[in-house]
């Protein structure tokens, strides 16, 4: 497919720090500032560039005002921490789509010719915050923050949607309802599909040291006296939290930082071997006022990419947000990665695992790898880059990846599709 950007853009550097909690010994005594500096410097090292070569920074964080001592975008400080004081920086906040939008903004800066090398970086600490009168390493559990954390409330506007009483439910069960309605699958089969998906993603995450949750469900099941992991997944140990979604099918939140370095493809070939090409991207935003909005945003993004030349049958790997189980299945089918109405069989048969023939989220997905709001998009793109380079370690997919679709969603209102290509 031909790029639609004014000049071709490539990814030459990446860093995705392990998804952890601040209670983990690895991150004890640290703050988001140290994580930020580490991710940015590692990405620059990976790209083979020095701070002074960076023309611009695009940074994403969703909850800085709440979790970082009531600060508005700390852009100047973040630049200082990485030796870039005085350079331009943009802060992107578009809920959990922030990282993807930031990446697109970074690519646009290069494609337009305004910048040659752009650093796209992100931080987020969903589980801890620091008080406004204490430094950033003095962290407290988010449960102590008055009024936080209720995503179902924070994501909806105060014109109408916050008060209509249906929005939270739409965030979890809509894709499942769509599937049951259109493809004649029973609720029991859907339950098994979602459970199998959680098992598959955890199997992937167990082989990825960067994932937050790495204990396989089979092992957890055995420790609870279950020889059959699916029996365990259907049990009260894994309760339903909505009509269709069980606990194992809901996103986990953790602290994270990540960074990517993009530049013109012409420069990329001089800076590193095998840069990753940014083929195209598109996004769609809508509201939950419209029934089946999640599905429709996927359709809109797919159509936008196809209109610009994407051939969905050429996608070798799908990396997608999976806030709850239904999102992965709907996305895989809408983007033509799995056959419409039949994708559930791929989950049940384990074919979506990292070593399957149609791998999805080989890093573990939001259900096991983890999810850090505004940083998640950058982390997901980084995991895709590592897979495309063949540097994903034990969760490396077993087939060549010429083209990868990174599909992201945030806030229930924004869906993004980013197509990456190998230059090998």
């Amino acid at each position: 497919m031909a790029t639609k950007m004014m000049r071709p853009v490539s990814i030459i550097g990446t860093s995705t720090l392990p998804q952890r909690y601040f209670t983990d010994p690895m991150y004890a005594g640290l703050s988001t500032y140290e994580l930020w500096a580490c991710a940015c410097h590692q990405a620059m090292e990976d790209a083979g560039v020095k701070p002074r070569q960076i023309d611009k920074v695009v940074y994403s964080q969703m909850a800085n005002f709440v979790t970082s001592g009531n600060i508005l975008a700390p852009v100047g400080s973040l630049l200082e921490w990485i030796g870039l004081a005085g350079k331009p920086i943009i802060h992107i906040e578009q809920a959990c789509a922030s990282g993807y939008i930031a990446f697109m903004e970074a690519c646009n800066a290069v494609a337009s010719g305004q910048a040659d090398i752009v650093l796209c970086a992100a931080i987020e600490t969903p589980k801890h915050f620091n008080m406004r009168n204490q430094p950033a390493h003095m962290l407290r559990p988010i449960s102590e923050y008055d009024g936080w954390w209720s995503p179902g409330r924070a994501l909806f506007d105060t014109a109408y949607s916050r008060f209509d009483g249906v929005s939270d439910n739409l965030l979890t069960d809509e894709q499942g309802r769509y599937y049951l309605k259109n493809y004649g699958v029973s609720e029991e089969v859907m339950d098994d599909t979602y459970n199998a998906m959680a098992v598959n993603l955890r199997r992937n995450a167990s082989r990825n040291f960067r994932a937050a949750e790495r204990t396989e469900y089979a092992e957890i099941a055995r420790s609870r006296g279950f020889n059959d992991v699916m029996e365990y997944m259907r049990s009260s140990h894994n309760p339903k939290i909505t009509q269709y979604i069980r606990k194992s099918g809901s996103v986990i939140h953790n602290v994270a930082a990540g960074a990517l370095v993009v530049c013109s493809s012409e420069m990329a070939s001089q800076l590193r071997a095998h840069p990753i090409s940014v083929k195209d991207f598109a996004s769609s935003s809508n509201t939950q006022r419209n029934p089946y909005c999640f599905h429709q945003m996927n359709v809109d993004v797919r159509d936008a990419l196809v209109a610009k030349g994407l051939k969905t049958e050429e996608i070798d790997l799908l990396v997608t947000t999976v806030m709850t189980s239904g999102e992965q299945l709907d996305s895989a089918e809408v983007f033509g990665y799995l056959p419409e109405g039949k994708g559930y069989t791929y989950e049940l048969e384990g074919r979506t695992c990292f070593d399957g023939d149609t791998p999805i989220n080989p890093h573990g997905g939001d259900l096991s790898f983890g999810h850090a709001f505004g940083a998640s998009g950058v982390n997901m793109i980084s995991e895709a880059v590592l897979q495309m380079r063949g540097e994903a370690g034990d969760c490396q997919v077993k087939k060549p990846i010429d083209q990868c679709l990174v599909r992201g969603m945030g806030g229930g209102h924004t869906t993004v599709g980013i197509v990456l290509g190998s230059t090998n």
Binding site: E34, C38, K50, N133, M138
Partner: protein, 143 residues
């Protein structure tokens, strides 16, 4: 490869022990205070902890009466100070290191002009107790 290292905790813990630390760049010798993991002069990331001592030089006095009440937009910067003693803002530097803004004690309307005539002034570290349970760094003009 760049490695994670605690910057803030190391710095604030040292203040509790009466020590003011900066980070010194192995590449160009620049001392970064307040400490950052990246050299502000050359962009280097090989920096090590460096005791800055207690003495600094004040180059400018930006006098402001901190007893004035702030409004909704601009509250006073000492709102988290346990000690509400009046202070002003100074521009100073450690013998090694770049200029910085700082809270400066020991300046009042009666000695302001006299002190300005004596600039640059010797000053020593004044640890500021914060209501959040930690210390920050200001300076007090030496007699």
């Amino acid at each position: 490869m760049y490695k994670l290292q605690p910057i803030l905790k190391t710095y604030y813990d040292a203040l509790e022990n009466g020590q003011v630390l900066g980070l010194k760049c192995a590449e160009c010798g620049e001392v970064v205070w307040r400490p950052l993991p990246t050299c502000q002069a050359c962009g280097g990331t090989d920096l090590s902890w460096h005791d800055l001592g207690k003495d600094a030089v004040i180059d400018e006095i930006l006098y402001d009466d901190t007893s004035l009440q702030g409004d909704y937009t601009f509250t006073k910067a000492n709102q988290y100070f346990v000690n509400k003693e009046a202070y002003c803002i100074g521009i100073g530097h450690f013998p090694e290191g770049r200029p910085f803004h700082t809270a400066l004690y020991g300046v009042n309307p009666s000695n302001l002009e006299q002190l300005r005539k004596r600039l640059p002034l010797a000053a020593e570290v004044e640890f500021i107790q914060m209501d959040g349970g930690f210390k920050s760094v200001g300076f007090r003009v030496k007699a």
